[in-house]
Symmetry: C2
Subunit: 144 residues, 2 copies
């Protein structure tokens, strides 16, 4: 994907969510569009600077906050003390992360709700939400 394509896709995503497409936001989101897996705020900032785009670290954090708030990106925390961000399909889903190469796949369907409701009820809980992260080894890494 070219830089121009990434920027236009970023613009489209922002427009679709009614978020003003400011320069900083387009830069950050375009960088995420080019990233098939997930990236940290620091990592995104470094890449943008390396690419010659003048964007502040605070703007990267503020932008990611806005993007998460509008559901344009998801925040994952597979290592403590550090959040990773990723563009995600809509709806409820979970992630499959390769422990070797950090590739991320989405698990489209989630068939946990019914089981969860029963399991929670045993403890007197009403389950309202859940987060599942699956670690594994992807086909590429298993072969190597």
């Amino acid at each position: 994907m070219t830089a121009r394509q990434a920027r236009s896709e970023a613009q489209r995503l922002l427009d679709a969510s009614g978020v003003r497409a400011t320069p900083g936001r387009v830069q950050v989101l375009a960088e995420l569009v080019r990233e098939p897996n997930d990236a940290t705020a620091q990592g995104l900032h470094e890449r943008l600077r390396a690419r010659g785009e003048r964007v502040g670290l605070a703007t990267v954090y503020r932008t990611l906050g806005v993007l998460v708030e509008h559901g344009i990106v998801d925040a994952l925390s597979h290592s403590p003390g550090e959040l990773c961000y990723r563009i995600c399909g809509g709806g409820h889903h979970h992630h499959l992360v390769c422990t070797e190469c950090h590739r991320v796949e989405e698990l489209g369907s989630c068939e946990l709700d019914e089981w969860l409701e029963r399991a929670a009820a045993v403890h007197g809980f009403r389950a309202t939400s859940h987060r599942l992260e699956v670690a594994g080894v992807c086909a590429g890494c298993a072969g190597a």
Copy 2:
């Protein structure tokens, strides 16, 4: 549970795992024994100091690291940038956390493995481990 009981339970847990029962470790672990839910490193440190026990914050962190390494306690991260620790029963299990009072229950049985294997295989992954955290409202808070 009295302070003496907590300390002796802590000692037992350390012995059972072959971890040397030094003063700092017994203090930290005894504090976790008294805690039905989970606690942060900072919180444990504060409580120990308030109780008059002279223990350094670094020791609390180092001890928690050792305890996690030996599977004596679990580290949960339900808020980013901060880990919570908790004594856990052995074996594979998941947590049910009340969003109101932060009470934590263990979900004893995990019936996800079969479903997960199939779901991962669709993406060419071999699932090796998973982590599930369920948020909900406990009976007490639902009533209030």
